[in-house]
């Protein structure tokens, strides 16, 4: 019988909206900024509850990041929101100088990350944002896996003092984590127990990893499945503990190989426990238009691909 089940599918961005709604009522220091994408970021409830704490910047993301830094100086906790492409790559230098190097308590909260925004195509499908953000000294990088976890992460990052990149997306995905969970930044979540292969997944690929583990189980292979919602700081204890048990690794993420979760794990293991490793992600390519599920299949970001990589890496042990 399946270990994890779900009753509904929801988008992670709506989890963010729910988290912001909670913060509008419970944390008067939280302010929100948005670059002309209120509906896409699900900010309606926050704005309804706290109109004076919302700042519409228009389609001007660089200015939005600077204003957020200035609000943080004044003691507020700004959430600067837009699509992941415009909130990271487009404004990298503004984040680097005015937020990260200046140690400002700014939360960069971005939707529509990865291939799953679908039909809009590669101009909007950023697959480099985790890498860009994790390279900045002091930046925390979080990619929660479902609606409930995104809501909990949103509430948690408001409590954390320092710059954070919170990444979520557009498609509806199974809601399988508890609705009242406490989100611990930097603490991986052990989802399934197994000694044959470690599967470390983040974001939308966490559910796919659970599906993959079920398929592997039918083949008599037991996967250790771990949800790495915080890519930086990486929960290296959990990574090491699992790899000492399994001896091989598959990473899974909706991101380039370069700069992603797998890249962080590989760097850690190279220094501490070199182990055979395979990557599920996009391999040095842009995305394209299509339905989310079609894209995930074409680019090998689904349960079938995780199974294939798991079998391959086990054979390399």
């Amino acid at each position: 019988m399946a270990q994890y089940t779900f009753e509904t599918k929801k988008d992670t961005r709506s989890g963010f909206g729910a988290g912001m709604e909670y913060l509008s009522l419970n944390n008067p220091k939280v302010v929100a900024l948005c670059a002309d994408l209120i509906g896409s970021l699900k900010l309606e409830a926050f704005i309804k509850n706290s109109p004076e704490r919302f700042f519409q910047t228009g389609i001007a993301e660089a200015n939005m990041i600077g204003i957020a830094a200035g609000l943080a100086v004044g003691g507020y906790i700004p959430f600067a929101t837009t699509f992941a492409n415009f909130g990271t790559g487009r404004v990298y230098d503004q984040i680097r100088q005015s937020v990260a190097y200046s140690s400002k308590n700014v939360k960069i909260a971005c939707s529509h990350a990865g291939l799953t925004l679908g039909e809009d195509g590669a101009t909007h499908q950023i697959l480099e944002d985790i890498g860009l953000m994790k390279m900045l000294p002091g930046m925390v990088v979080i990619n929660p896996c479902d609606y409930n976890q995104t809501k909990a992460a949103t509430i948690a990052v408001a409590e954390y003092e320092g710059p954070v990149y919170l990444r979520f997306g557009r498609p509806v995905v199974p809601v399988f984590t508890p609705d009242n969970q406490v989100f611990e930044i930097g603490k991986a979540i052990h989802l399934m127990e197994g000694a044959d292969v470690s599967i470390f997944a983040t974001g939308h690929l966490v559910w796919e990893s659970i599906l993959a583990a079920e398929i592997l189980k039918e083949k008599g292979i037991h996967a250790d499945v771990i949800n790495i919602h915080t890519i930086k700081p990486l929960d290296t204890n959990s990574v090491l503990k699992s790899v000492l048990k399994t001896g091989c690794v598959v990473s899974a993420e909706e991101h380039q190989y370069n700069g992603g979760l797998g890249d962080s794990i590989a760097q850690f293991l190279a220094m501490n426990r070199p182990s055979p490793m395979e990557f599920v992600g996009v391999n040095d390519s842009f995305g394209e238009s299509g339905k989310p599920a079609e894209l995930m299949e074409k680019y090998g970001l689904n349960a079938a691909s995780i199974v294939e990589k798991a079998l391959k890496v086990i054979a390399r042990k």
Binding site: A60, A69, A72, G74, R96, S103
Partner: protein, 285 residues
Amino acid sequence: MQTQELEKIASQVRRDILRMVHGCQSGHPGGSLGCTDLLVELFFNAMNLKTDSSGNVIFQMDGKGEDVFYLSNGHISPLIYSVLARRGYFPVAEMASFRKINTRLQGHPTPHEHLEGIRIASGSLGQGLSVAIGTAQAKKLAQDQSIVYCLMGDGEQNEGQVWEAAMYAPHHQVDNLIAFIDVNGQQIDGPTAKVMNNRDLGEKYKAFGWEVLHMNGNNAADVQQTVAKAKELSGKGSPIMVLMQTEMGAGVDFMMGSHKWHGVAPNDQQLADALVQLTETLGDY
């Protein structure tokens, strides 16, 4: 404070700038000298700064209940360092460490090394006005009546982010913001009119919805009067932009009139030739 007293402080600040840049043989003296009179006016006269019961300034990052200044054209760091030190934010002796290894006085200002008086990093141009707007809006939310000041360069007006901020501030009625542009007509590759013509900055900002004032940024009396006028205009619905005509290298005859001294340090003889033109009023560091 009397204009004459401000001029005395300015003379010492100009000495500090030249000695700092000479000391490490690097840095930007031209714009620093040009903007000296404004920063002396702001920090020694116009701005309401937080002090203890003895009148000594206290630095608090959040700037609550006090005026806040942001330097967007961070390359004129010797100027902000001298003014902050002379105002009492950190020891004047620390100026000797400017741009040297392990210093808090980095090439461009940063709060990363916890230098009192610096709230944001600047150096990559075009970002300061946005930050100033953010802090001005934080003050409004907190019902803090203080003013936020920001200085930019005229070459910096080439940056697109400046115009995003220029559009935003009037739209959101950020009227507790007084910004300045150092109109010295020079940038690294030559006169602004040749490198990238700003044309009429005053008309541009007016069209975006700003109150626009003009002043001679190297005339202490004019600076004092215009800053006072700008403060009177604050709180009336519009942000205020002061276009300040300056001479790059102001105060040192052979440094004026070109962009040559934008980012060049004086040698020993040049330093001596410059210092004889500036009275040591407060004691060199």
